[in-house]
């Protein structure tokens, strides 16, 4: 009896459990599936209607009309993702399973005007199920990335990273409440990163080296054809692959590798476009698709400012507008409006350090750091950024969380950066789910996840983090609880986006500092 009591009162490390992925992963995945199923009846945004309309378009129309149709001008939910995504929707809407699940006579797959497109319960269940099923890709990608990141290291580290990726509440909010397919896209992205890292782990003399690098490139090419948001990472991929795959230490440039890479990538990039170019008017098709993909007319920022540099810029603009009539020493009456070109140039210039680092110091940690930094750059500067884009930086960063848990590391640790970025990035997603009905779920899942991050980081929950938490609490109260109406209605949203922007800009700078820091043991060994 007494010995029993003693073994029970061990410390509360769950490392032993995390060291057995085969025991811990199935329950975790099953629990998350159950969560997603129960979330089906919650709020869904117009993105649901968007994707439903794409199902209808790909179900009812010939390929040539996919990018032209807008149900005679009665819908704004037109197809505006690249061709692969259109094929994905076509696959969903045209397979025998779908016609069996969606009951006969249901309008789920019909072309409907915006004024009358309320979906039936079966339609919602079907559509939500496609998201849940597509999360399988997310899990596989996350697992691949975690395993190759922590190659040859204790298993609990990759389990932790995997757990933090698949249980990110942002994914639940975006995909399973708001409705999108981010999980699938991020899964491909992580899979691509995982293959690249695995190639790095293997080294050029092993079998599978070419397969991994080419596979990573192919997955990325597919990803680009699914969602063009990832185009902002193209320079990084190009530089990394060019310098790390096509160049081998001591042997110089490998033309064979380059040729293989170039041809494979080009085929994967262009193949999905071929069916559209085989139509009667290929030029018209191409121009129409590009016009749909890049709607620059939408303005610099979204209705709700994403928490980036432009939010701060617009705030400064507002301040100047208010202040300049009163304070004559201010030389300008408003700040200049940036053009898409300015955004693109800023983004590219700010990405340069990452391109250099990723192509010169070839290690997995540096690659992921560069990916995180580049994603943050595009989040900060790109034209018409959505708040959701933060996930593109946050999810890869999760891979690094369990990297340096040794205490003697002086720098700003990855886990602290991750905590900060989750704190502000996820808070910035709050306005997406604006109904009071989801408020409880939003707040509790957020708090629980932040606690999970602290639990895994093994760091002290210092006064700095407490201060940040307090600030977040105040923001949540302003945003969700205070009944601000009328003239100052915009204030809660503005405060949220400004404070999140400040936090994320700080994270962005820290991630640059981490990227440039020379700390990685393996690099030292290699170079010296």
């Amino acid at each position: 009896m007494k010995t029993q009591a003693k073994t029970d009162t061990n410390d509360y490390d769950i490392t032993d459990l995390l060291n057995q992925p085969s025991r811990i992963l199935p329950p975790i995945l099953l629990i998350s599936v159950c969560f997603k199923i129960i979330l089906m009846p919650t709020y869904r945004s117009t993105d649901f209607d968007v994707h439903r309309n794409w199902l209808a378009v790909t179900h009812n129309l010939p390929l040539s009309e996919w990018y032209f149709n807008d149900v005679n001008g009665t819908t704004v939910h037109t197809l505006d993702y690249p061709p692969m995504f259109a094929y994905f929707e076509a696959f969903l809407s045209n397979n025998p399973l779908t016609s069996r699940i969606v009951p006969l006579g249901d309008r789920c797959l019909d072309l409907l005007p915006d004024s009358d497109n309320t979906p039936s319960e079966d339609c919602i269940v079907f559509h939500r199920c496609t998201v849940i099923a597509s999360d399988l890709i997310f899990w596989i990608g996350a697992y691949m990335a975690c395993r190759s990141m922590y190659h040859g290291k204790p298993l609990y580290r990759s389990s932790m990273a995997f757990l933090l990726i698949v249980w990110n509440p942002g994914m639940l909010w975006l995909d399973h409440i708001h409705f999108q397919y981010n999980g699938m896209l991020l899964g491909l992205f992580l899979g691509s990163l995982g293959l690249l890292m695995q190639g790095n782990n293997l080294g050029p003399n092993k079998r599978g080296y070419h397969f991994c690098h080419l596979g990573g490139a192919i997955l990325y090419a597919f990803l680009l054809n699914l969602k063009h948001l990832y185009l902002t990472l193209a320079p990084l991929y190009f530089c990394y692959l060019l310098m790390s795959y096509c160049q081998i230490d001591g042997k110089g440039f490998q033309l064979r590798n380059f040729a293989a890479l170039a041809s494979v990538t080009a085929i994967c990039l262009l193949a999905p476009w071929v069916p559209f170019l085989l139509q009667e008017d290929p030029k018209g098709q191409l121009l129409q698709i590009l016009a749909r993909l890049f709607p620059f007319g939408r303005g610099l920022v979204h209705d709700y400012w994403a928490a980036n540099v432009w939010a701060l810029y617009l705030l400064a603009d507002k301040v100047v507008k208010v202040a300049s009539p009163r304070l004559p020493w201010i030389p300008i009456s408003h700040l200049p409006e940036p053009t898409p070109l300015v955004c693109a140039v800023l983004m590219f210039v700010s990405q340069l350090p990452a391109l250099i680092v990723a192509s010169t110091r070839r290690s997995n940690v540096k690659l992921i750091q560069a990916v995180v930094y580049c994603s943050l750059c595009s989040f900060m500067f790109a034209w018409h950024v959505h708040e959701k884009a933060i996930m593109t930086a946050l999810i890869p960063l999760t891979l690094l969380v369990c990297q340096n848990d040794d205490r003697n590391n002086k720098g700003y640790s990855h886990s602290l950066l991750f905590w900060q970025m989750s704190l502000w990035g996820l808070l910035g997603l709050f306005p997406l789910l604006f109904r009071p009905v989801e408020l409880g779920f939003k707040v509790v899942s957020y708090v629980t996840f932040m606690a999970l991050c602290v639990q895994f980081s093994k760091e002290r929950f210092g006064s700095f983090r407490k201060l940040c938490s307090l600030l977040v609490g105040i923001v949540i109260i302003i945003l969700e609880v205070l009944p601000i109406q009328g003239k100052w209605e915009f204030l809660p949203l503005m405060i949220t986006s400004i404070i999140c922007a400040l936090g994320l800009v700080a994270c962005w700078i820290v991630s640059l500092a981490q990227l440039l820091a020379v700390e990685d043991e393996r690099i030292k060994d290699k170079n010296i």
Binding site: T9, L17, P26, I31, C34, I38, T448, F461
Partner: protein, 517 residues
């Protein structure tokens, strides 16, 4: 080594946040499902909805009417039939609802059958808040001791699918009554007699929140009596102290209803009191309600049909006698336990055994009421489940088996409420949590060991089998109620088994049992 483990022994606050947060997320998720009677799904022509509408209606009448009218107003439409503390609680929720969810949600008469997502969220939030405030606090106070075992006990108790599905799915405030009861048990089982006084106050609150907590009353009474007798010198002093406490508590809570009567007729104080009692104990409703997994319902199947054979005036008496027989073991055992109450301070192990014995007693007693008493609801099984769940570290196999049986017997109810998805999802989530703790659970001694170890597996096979048969075949046209009846008969048999085990646990001495195994 021992020093370092002693330092590490404190459970980090983050881990506690994660566990509480997870339990909270489960509650919120279930809350997204339908509540009882949503969209008037049963199609009842007499009164809209179910328990949800009843609770909302009580908020409406308590908010608008003077206290005297609460137990008299329009009784045909979900008249108030819970004890006074529920009425006050409804008033508080109604007051907040008027301000937070909008005045239309509790407007007198005109709000009947209102359906509004924000109002539903508000109602769910009230359950959630009180659940954590009272049930959560009580569970942590009674069981949380900063070690891994107690962590699991609290966590699993807070994630009991049966409790969550009834409170947050079907919609009731059982967790408040359960919380008060558990807190009361935790207090009365402490070695100082002063704690017994606090415990009895808490138990009075539980009794005044939900009459169902009467299921615990005999064991609590006999235990406290034992405590009084344990030091003969102070017997009368203690007895009077407890009596005065209980009477004062009841007096304070009942006084407003006795002093003021309904505004539209003349009543004497006695009549007013009797009105509350009549409302709380509706004997005219019959031996049992719906399809409950208790003895009466099981004995009412075709060849026996007990309800038709025995005169309806004898039925309450029969139920009473059988219940009294069934509660005898646990009452006797707890009376003896109470006698030993003052010796507890001698050792920590002793203290723990005392607490566990008390829990077995309360479980056994409430199970006997559930099985044999008059007018039982299927939800009353929660009264046995809550104390049983706190015994997780004693006998995980049995407790988990009992948890599964409990939630399984609620299936017919949840099916009517259209909570199929939350039911299955909660079952899976619960199983997965158990799976994560399997290392700890499987190493413990259990009653289901040796030849009995097949009992749980047999039970699970039957339960899953019945689900599969119902899903694939559906009821035959001649017997539309076949499956609820099967559920109640099987459930009754399993609960009888649980009753026997709990009686054995509470009667047999702990040391002797250890030697036998």
């Amino acid at each position: 080594m021992t020093q370092s483990t002693a330092v590490n022994n404190r459970i980090p606050i983050t881990l506690i946040t994660i566990c509480f947060g997870f339990a909270c997320i489960l509650r919120i998720l279930i809350g997204f499902g339908h509540h009882s009677g949503e969209n008037n799904y049963h199609g009842s022509s007499k009164a809209y909805g179910g328990d949800f509408e009843a609770q909302r209606h009580w908020m409406e009448i308590t908010y608008w009417l003077p206290v005297g009218d609460w137990y008299w107003y329009d009784l045909d439409y979900w008249g108030l039939d819970y004890p006074p503390l529920t009425a006050y609680h409804s008033y508080l929720c109604g007051w907040l609802s008027h301000r937070l969810a909008g005045p239309e949600t509790v407007a007198l008469d005109s709000s009947r059958g209102i359906e509004d997502p924000v109002h539903k969220a508000y109602m769910r939030a009230t359950v959630l808040v009180f659940d954590f405030l009272i049930f959560g606090t009580a569970v942590c106070y009674s069981s949380f001791r900063n070690d891994r075992g107690s962590m699991w006990v609290s966590f699993i108790t807070l994630c009991q699918p049966a409790i969550l599905l009834v409170d947050h799915g079907h919609f009731q405030y059982n967790s408040i009554a359960l919380g008060f009861s558990i807190a009361a048990f935790a207090f009365i089982s402490q070695d100082r007699f002063r704690s017994c006084i606090y415990g009895s106050i808490l138990f009075c609150l539980a009794l005044n929140f939900k009459q169902m907590t009467l299921y615990y009353a005999p064991v609590v009474f006999f235990y406290l009596l034992g405590r009084c007798i344990s030091t003969p010198k102070r017997f009368f002093q203690r007895l009077i102290l407890l009596g005065v406490t209980v009477l004062t508590c009841f007096g304070v809570l009942w006084l407003p209803f006795i002093v003021t009567g309904p505004s539209d007729m003349m009543t004497t104080p006695l009549e007013r009191m009797m009105q509350i009692v009549r409302r709380i104990f509706p004997f005219e409703r019959g031996l049992f309600e719906g399809k409950v997994s208790n003895l009466w319902c099981a004995l009412n199947t075709r060849p026996i049909s007990i309800r038709d054979r025995i005169d309806s005036s004898v039925q309450p008496l029969l139920a009473l006698v059988l219940t009294l027989i069934m509660i005898a073991p646990s009452s006797f055992a707890l009376f003896c336990l109470g006698m030993k109450g003052d010796e507890m301070a001698t050792s920590k192990i002793n203290n723990q055994n005392h607490w566990k014995r008390l829990l077995w007693g309360t479980m056994s007693c409430s199970l006997s009421f559930f099985l044999a008493s008059f007018q039982v609801h299927e939800k009353s099984i929660l009264m046995s489940l809550a104390p049983c769940s706190l015994l997780l570290w004693e006998d995980p196999k049995f407790v988990l088996w009992f948890s599964r049986v409990c939630v399984w017997t609620l299936w017919p109810l949840l099916q009517v409420d259209r909570l199929h998805t939350p039911y299955f999802c909660m079952l899976i989530i619960f199983e997965m949590l158990v799976h994560l703790g399997q290392d700890h659970f499987s190493s413990k001694p259990s009653v289901f060991s040796g030849i009995f170890s097949m009992i749980p597996w047999l039970t699970y096979a039957i339960m899953i089998g019945l689900h599969a048969i119902e899903f694939s075949l559906g009821p035959p046209a001649a017997l539309p109620d076949l499956y609820p009846v099967l559920w109640s008969v099987v459930g009754c048999a399993l609960f009888c088994l649980a009753y026997i085990i709990s009686c054995a646990k509470v009667l047999l001495p702990v040391e002797g049992k250890n030697k036998v195994e």
